[in-house]
Every structure is written in C-alpha cells, then in structure tokens.
Symmetry: D2
Subunit: 330 residues, 4 copies
C-alpha cells in the first residue's frame, strides 16, 4: 500500500518532512540549547550561499576575510545566489578579521548613499582558512560591529567541530551566545558523505528559506539520505570525538616538525590544518614517497622553500603521522 505512494503534482509525500527529518530538528535544538530553524543541504557552498542569500538585498555587500572560502573558493556562488551582492574581502593576519578592519571597510559603505550599496551581512570562518580560531570574545566583537550596522553575523562552520573541541566550549557559546545569527554547520569535512546544514538562531529570519532552498535545487525527494547522516553524525558525540582526534593528529604532526631543520611553522595550528614551510628538498622527498601537494604562493618564503597546507582527519592514525615525519626528516 505504501509503495503505491500517491503523489499529486505537489509530490507531497515524497518531498514532505519525514519523521527522521523531524528528529533532526530536535537534535539541533538540543545541541544549541535553543529553538533554532535548521535546513539540510548537500554542500558547504550551498549552505553558505543560501545563508547569505537569506539576508541579501539589492546593492547589498557581504564583508568577509579576503581569503574566505566564500570569497575565493566557491566559483562566485555567493554572488550568484544573492543575485549579485558584492563580497568585500578584508585583509587580516592568519585568516582572521579584526573589528577595526571590519569597521573601516563597512564605513566605506555608508548609510543612505545608494552609489556604494549597503551592508547585507558579515561572514567569518570558524576554523579560518589558515587553521586559526576566533576566541569567543573575538566573535562577539565582530558581531557587535555587524549589528551596529544592522546586519547579521554569519559563521562558515565547515570545520565547526574542530573549532569547538579546540576551544572546549559549547555549540551555544560559540554561536548565538557570542552574537552569531546564522551558521553553516558542516558535517562533510568531519566524516559525512554529504551533510551540511544552515542553522538560524533567530528562527523568524528564516521565513521563506524553504523557497530559497527549493529554487536552489537543494531539496531532495529522499531527504533522509542527508538527515540520516546527521542523525548518525551527532549521536553519542561521535562527531566531537572525530574532531578531537583530527586535531590531536595535527598537533602530533606539528610537534614532530618543530625540531626538524628547515621546517618553519609561520602559523601556529589550532585545529586540524597545518601550514608549514618546507625546503624544496623536503617537499620533493615527500612527493617521492607518494604525497601530493601544491604550494600556496606566499611572500615570506625563500626561493628554496614551499608553503603548504596539510589536513588531518578522523581517519588519520599516529602511524601515518609518524611515517610522514620520517620522510620529512629524510
């Protein structure tokens, strides 16, 4: 009987909220100690773009770090989904925005001057693109600047779990209690196949998001393929254990490098990403052993050096780390 499922032109039963989806909503409410509005999507780019599209306006500008994923790694999807809002990239050491730099940039888009457009949102990445982490008071200070111009603070939490265990705070503390209005909550980089969520801490602001998501081709007839991943991901704090492990492996890797001649760590790691400088000889040795990486252009490396990005994950073992270090030592 069930298999003869009836669908009108609305496909109501196929696309409707199934009980699994509902339990996910409760899981997020519990996780954040607050009633939130949560929407599942399939990619981090979708989560970021639709979160920002929710607050987009004609002539709107989104302020973010110049190296933010939304600014340089998403093929301009945020610009597209916001119907042409501008992303204004701001400099800042080690991937982090400062309140002063943010305020200065926002002042160039003053109120009541249509030529320059108007602010629509501020976005930060936690963990940042250089593996660093905002402290709670740093988040609050950026939120204060955003709110002083009446726009929300968005957090790109592609590595949310890694930041959380690094700071050892609660999800509520790292988000709405610190002024975050909307979060891209990432599961994919911490073990899921494809599980991302947009979380609104002021649920009424999500009005109409269902339409935004459907129009973005992010509504799945078999939505439980995403919700089931989240259910497993969040259960029994497995997600935090995964992140804790990935971070620990990153620290083991960093610590193992500190005494190796020729290696420099210009950015102290705080989560599961490491940005070392190797000599070209070291890099060549690792590549000969099977590692693949590309260098990041940087003006602080010499001609004989390369600047790289290494990422550890839930599946990285101490043995892998040690093997890597062995090759690095040569």
């Amino acid at each position: 009987m069930t298999a003869l499922a009836n669908h009108t032109s609305g496909f109501a039963t196929a696309y409707g909220v199934d009980p699994l989806s509902r339990s996910i909503e409760q899981q997020f409410n519990d996780l954040f100690e607050k009633e939130v509005a949560v929407f599942l999507v399939s990619t981090g780019t979708a989560a970021n773009s639709l979160a920002l599209a929710t607050y987009a306006k004609p002539g709107g500008a989104v302020f973010c770090h110049e190296d933010a994923h939304i600014n340089v790694d998403e093929c301009h999807a945020p610009e597209f989904f916001t119907a042409g809002n501008k992303l204004i990239g701001i400099g800042g050491e080690h991937g982090k925005l400062t309140p002063d730099a943010l305020r200065t940039a926002m002042n160039k888009v003053p109120d009541n001057n249509p030529m320059h457009g108007r602010p629509a949102a501020v976005s930060i990445s936690q963990v940042t693109e250089f593996g660093t982490i905002y402290q709670l008071d740093e988040i609050q200070a950026l939120a204060d600047v955003a709110h002083s111009r009446n726009v929300p603070l968005h957090m790109d939490g592609a590595r949310f779990a890694n930041a959380l265990v690094s700071l050892d705070v609660s999800p509520a503390e790292m988000t709405w209690k610190a002024g975050v209005d909307v979060l891209s909550f990432g599961g994919t980089k911490n073990g899921c196949w494809c599980a991302e969520a947009v979380v609104f801490f002021n649920p009424e602001e999500s009005e109409g998001f269902e339409y935004l998501r459907k129009r973005a081709a992010q509504v799945f007839s078999k939505a439980r393929f995403i919700s089931a991943q989240f259910e497993g991901y969040l259960k029994d704090d497995d997600w935090l254990a995964s992140a804790r492990h990935a971070n620990a492996m990153c620290m083991r890797l960093a610590d193992g490098m500190r005494d190796i001649e020729g290696v420099r760590l210009p950015i102290e790691p705080q989560a599961n990403e490491l940005f070392p400088v190797f000599t070209k000889a070291q890099a060549a040795r690792l590549e000969a052993a099977g590692a693949k990486f590309y260098d990041i252009p940087a003006d602080f490396v010499s001609e004989d050096e390369v600047f790289l990005r290494l990422v550890t994950c839930f599946a990285t073992t101490p043995e892998m780390v040690d093997e890597f270090l062995t090759h690095l030592r040569g």
Copy 2:
C-alpha cells in the same frame, strides 16, 4: 600518507575526478554508443536547470509543455539558474507537445525583435507528467522544430528508464539519434538515493559547464557518493529490470481497475504512472485503508469523482497491487 591529504587552495585532491568518476564517463559513453559529456548532480531540478542554463541567453525563452515539471514543480529554479529566461508553457493533450503547437508558440517569438526575446531551448519530458511517452518519430519532429530555430532539444528524463523499456529501444535511439541534444538522466526515481546526470550529446556544447555546476553548489568534495550510485545503478542492466518491473506493476494495476465500476482511465498508462478517476467513495475507502493522495483539479470529473496520480516503483509487489485493488473494489 594518503590520509594526510594535501589540499592547496585548489583542494585538488578532494574535488578532483577520482577513478570511479572516470569509469562513470566510460559507462555513459558505452550506454549511449557515443562520446558524450556527462556531469553528475544531486537533484533532478539541478539537472534540468543547469542543462537549460547552458543554453540560456539574455532574453531567452524555453518552450515546454504547460504542465512540465520545469514549468510548475521546481519553484522557478529554471528561471533563476538561467538568470531570468522565460519558460513558455504550451498546451497539449496528456502532457505531450505537438510540433504544430510548438511551432506556433515559437513563431510568437520571431527573430530580430528584441521586445519579444528569442528562443533559447525546447524541453520535453520523457516520460511526460501524465505518464505518457513520445514515440521516436514524435521526438524527431519536435527536434526538427527546435533546430529550425537554432535551439537545442532538452529531454527531462526523470523517468528515462521507464520510457526506454516501454518503447523497447536503445538509449541512443531515444536521444541523440532522435534529435535530442541534452538529457537530464534520472536515477533517483528508479531506486537511487540521489543520482542525476546531465548528458550532452554534442560534448563541445558543454564548455564551461564545470563552472556552471560549481557555481550552482552542485560539486561534491566526496563526489563518489553520487558516482558510486550510478555505477551500481547501471551495472548488469539492473536499472532496466527495475523500470520494467515498475511498468509491469502499473499495467497490472491498470488492468485490475478496468472492470471495477466507477473507475475510469482517461489516460492510457505507458510507463509507471497511472491517472485514474475514482468515485469519492472509492477514494475514501482507500484512504481509510491507509493510502494517502491528493486530487488533481480536472474539468472532466464530476462532483462525485476525484482524479488521482498513482506511481509504482521497483519495490512495488504484485501483492501490494492486488491489495490496493481489493480495497478499491470494496
């Protein structure tokens, strides 16, 4: 070593084409007896919208049936992804376009008159939204009209497999050999979790599609979660067996209804969708037994009748069909 995967700002190893994805390309080439360009996405709406966006133009118009999924069931995603191309819905019995009706509609958008815009594409659904099927020569005739105005013919193949086994033709015969230029190839409605593909039969026309897809937030860091579904789906012709079964269950359902008083079948089924008219008493009896459905507004039913849509699938058993018929008989 592998787990310490290195990603530069390009995330090359995470997002790159893995060997599994490559084997998918070969599977599609074999399937269509032609070198095609194939791109995996996660929803049918994404497949349709991006296929059409490939051919979109300022002022472009997409001609389709007025009941087409792209016209009424996708929250205007095609309009959005084409940056505002217009979908022009055309009437036609039982969900099918005729060459005459198509030609007449296209003539209202003549060449060299910017006020009216210009044609960008023609789109048909195979299976149609009313469970009917275009014969090969009907497809070719519509393709001829489209090509006479220098635009491609797109086929929404959400139920591609069901059409294929119903016509008992090859994938090549039902597509490029009949004039189809680009296909939304659907796996989700025939058993996959989430597996859709855009197939270009003139691969050079897909130039730039990688950017369109990435900008649409449809590129997955773990792309093999889609490609693996397709690999399994297409292997050993399982997909055709599933479709054949679903179609057979639909015919069993239809045949079982023919002698039941009060039931009418205004549209003869050709695939796995059935559109019967029941009396309200029959519908109520089925609902009491647990079935859920909504009626489709129709001017050919009386006040005591309802017009419904029933769908069978790979998981439908003869016992389910018979149980349904038992309840229907009362």
Copy 3:
C-alpha cells in the same frame, strides 16, 4: 564657484535630490491626494520591472494577462530584474483579467508548497494591451483577490492619462482608492521624451527602492532632465488635455470606420487605441498611401482580412484622421 562643484566618491551634489525633484514629489502627492513615494526612471520597462522587483521573492510568481506588455513585450526584463520570478499569463477577453480567472490561476500556486513557488504580485494594465479599460469596481475586485493572497496589485499605467479621461475619474479613485498598491505612471506615450515614474501608495513598501533603481542603472547624474519633463507634463492639466484629444481622435477614427464596408471593430475602443479588421485590399491601399503596419495574428479573421492596431496621440489632427478614412474608403 558652483561650477567648481566638488564631488567626493559619493558624487553627492551631482546625484542628489535637487529642488526640482522635490517639487515633483509634491506634485505627485497633490495629484494622488495622498503622500506617495515616487521614483523617476527612464523607460516603461524599467518602471514595471522595478515595481515588480520591489515585491519579488525567491520562488515568486507574478500573475498578469497573457498579452500583458510585461509578459510578451519587454524581453523578459521583469524576470531578470526579479532574479527569476515567473510571470504567469492568464487568458481573458480583450486584454482584461477577471477575478475568477485570477483566483483559479493563483490557486495553482497554493501556500506552503515550495515546489510551486508562491505569489509575489498581480499586475494589470490600464489601458490594457487591447485598448480596453477596467472600471473602478473591476480594479477593486482584482485587488481583493490579490490581497487575499497577501500580494500587491500593480498597475501598468503606460497609458494612465488615457484611461483617466476615459473613465472621467480622479487619479486617486483609479489607483489606491480601488486597491492599487503600486503604479507605473507613464508620460512617454502621452508626449514626454522619456519620463516614467514608479508610484508607491504605501510609501513604507518602497524601502530600499533607491538601491534597486541605482543597481538598475536608472539613476541619472542630471536627474532634472526627467523631472523637468514631468513638471511640464503635469502642469495646468496639459497631460489630461493631451490624453483627451488622443482619445477623441480615436473615437473619430472608429466612428468614421463604422459605415465603411469591409471594416469590422471586434473590440470597442475606450482610449486611444483601435483594433480594426480591414480587408487586405483596404490595407494595401493604405500602405500605398504611406501607412506602415503589421498584422496581429488572430483566429477571427478570414484569409482576406488583416487585424491591425492603430494608435492616436496628442499630435493627431482631425485632418489626419479624415485623410486616413478617405484612403480606407478608397
């Protein structure tokens, strides 16, 4: 001193509201007996598209007559400026929507079903594209349907003056007193070079319109070139006199045709547009005399006939009309 005008990056003095612009605002307030928000733009397409963009939503649909200028004559600008809202064309005799037809069309876009999108606005043309006019109670009835779905009623008033003098009512009566929320007020078709305005009757709904207009490239550094036209246009009721004259010439033309054999008037003229059926011989005679026209496809004309559109304007003289009729008589 003034000529050495100083402009910062804001170009404040060049783009600012000059005294002339302010006096225009007062003129519109007086005209409509209400405080309105008025914005000058340079084309009717801009006025319509930006009025609709103000109310656009993701997945939004604009309901209008299938022959509406916004639906078929603006190169899909409304779809573009609304970031892909769909225009849903509805049939209706002589260019007019009926409340029933509107309600039926809107019911196909029910609340709370993202697949089908959601209503964003209803738009009517006054004068319609076939030269007919909505009576005040007809406008109110359509407004009631729109408002019952919580969307505004837009009026495309490209020929606002011609409708006004035909109905012999006040601007207030034909707009906000009859339920109109936003108006495209056209001056170009009644004598201006290039002067169109968007008028919001609930000024708070125009919040952000300045950004929409600037982003649409419709803000002029020398804005007084438009405002000056309006000032002249509205002064001393010249605009109504122009419209009255154009309408009168249209009636003279229609009346002169009534006794000419072979001529039919399937649509009774109400403003300054006439849609006669001529014999092909009559049309040929007129063309030989220098007239240029194209026929409108119509299923109610015979093979020997053509269906045409004629427009009279402020500059049309009785002598011109009579000369035309002379040629028509042959």
Copy 4:
C-alpha cells in the same frame, strides 16, 4: 498619416532604428576610423554594466582597479547585470593598474579550476578615478595581459574626451589600436543631458547585445532623444573643445594653487579633476564662501588637513577659478 502610426505587438515603428540613429552609427565609424558596433544607453552605469555583461560567464571575474567606478560607485550593478560575476579590485597608485599587479591577480584565478572561477574581462578607466591618464603603451601592456588570458579589455570612458585631448591622440589610437575591445563612451560628464554609448571594436562580439539592452530596460521608444544629443555632441569637434577647456581650467586651478601655503597636490592633474590637500582652515573658508565638498579618507593627510576632489567642466570660467583661488588664499 504619420501620426496614426501603426504599431503591432512589435511596436516596430516606434522602437525601430530611425535615420538619425543610423547617422550616429556612421559618426562613430568615422570617429574611430573603423566599422564599430555602437549602442546608445542612458547612463554610464548602464554602459559599463552591459559592456561587461556581454562578456560575462558563469564563475566569471572582472579585474579592475580597487577604486574603479564599477567597483565602488555603481551599487553593484555590474555584479547584477553579469548575473553574479565577481569584480576583483586591484591596488595601484593614483588609480592606475600596472601589468604586473594585473597579472598577479589573474594568476590567482588559474585556468581549469572551477573553485576559483575564471577571468571574464579586464576593465580600466580612462581618465582614472584619480584624474590620471594611461599612456598608449600602458593601455597596450594591460591589453596584452588580458588577451593572454583570452579576455577583452574594457575601457570606462566616462571622461573619454578629457583623456583624448590630454594625450592629444586620436580616438582610434586610444582604443582599438592600443588593444581596447569595448568602450563605454561617455557624453554626460562633458555636457550632454544623458548620452552614453557602448562601442564594440570587434562588432561580431556584440551579437545579442540588442537583447541585453532591451532586457536592461535601456531601449527608448523615442531613441532619438539620445541620438540627437550625440549628433550635436560630436559635430564640429565641439566635444573636444569642451574637454580641452575643462582640462585647461583644471590646470589653471592647479597652477594657481602651487604657491599657496598649506596646499599640496599629491596627484599631478592630467585632465579635469584635481585632488588637492587643503588645511582645514582653508576648506572652512571655502565652505563659508559657498563651496560644498566632502573629504576623501586618506592616510597621507595630517589631522589638520583634508583631501578633496575638484572637477572643472565646459562651463567653468577663468573668473570662477580665480575667485576660488582668492578664497583659498584667504
């Protein structure tokens, strides 16, 4: 007879190319010593946005100076009309891009990596936003960088005439002979009411521009109101005389300031814009005398100074300049 102009749904005679428009085309061909494709629009923002939209692509990026008018003064219209292409602002002294800085920025958007998007165009302003001018070889060098990545060089010529007379070269030399592919040709800042044009030096690249322009609401039923302005503007080299005069007044102003204590000229003027540093006392004195200006934020001024922008025009007289200098001297 003419006044009874017949318009079909195509409005052919109202919107068609009138003889005046055609003569404009010839004027532009003559001006540039080449067959060009020219399209009239009503604002500089429209010219820039539509020129860039012609070359826009999904994921496309437009490279320009960080202070470019398109980047900071057009309410993000370029992002909107290109359906979300990103503008990438590049630093450079006195408003000018260098080939090295351009190449470095473009290298961050490598070929074949969809995450980062892809180049769509390079845009320069001639005169720049700081009143400076690119020499012919500088233009060519930037064109070479753009062309090496297979994208066009766009020139925002809002002050085209001022640059031309300053360099004392021909329109052809300053554009296509130096590698410029598309030009926004501005008349408004040099005396017209509202007259801007997009000029394509490779006419075949303008294919479809008519649709882009109409969809942008930039097609005028009475197009001759723009073309007539251009006809007058270009006749008898009046436009060059106007620009020459404006530039001369700017030099007179600059020269008059050089011996005034407290005044600095950090940027040497080359056209009709001057960017002096005044003491706050001087600025106050000028304001008391009726001048209005806002300061531009700058890090090279002391607390007692302001950095300003002054513009001279065709209507500026030597007496005005001298009066201004008198007030400045105090």
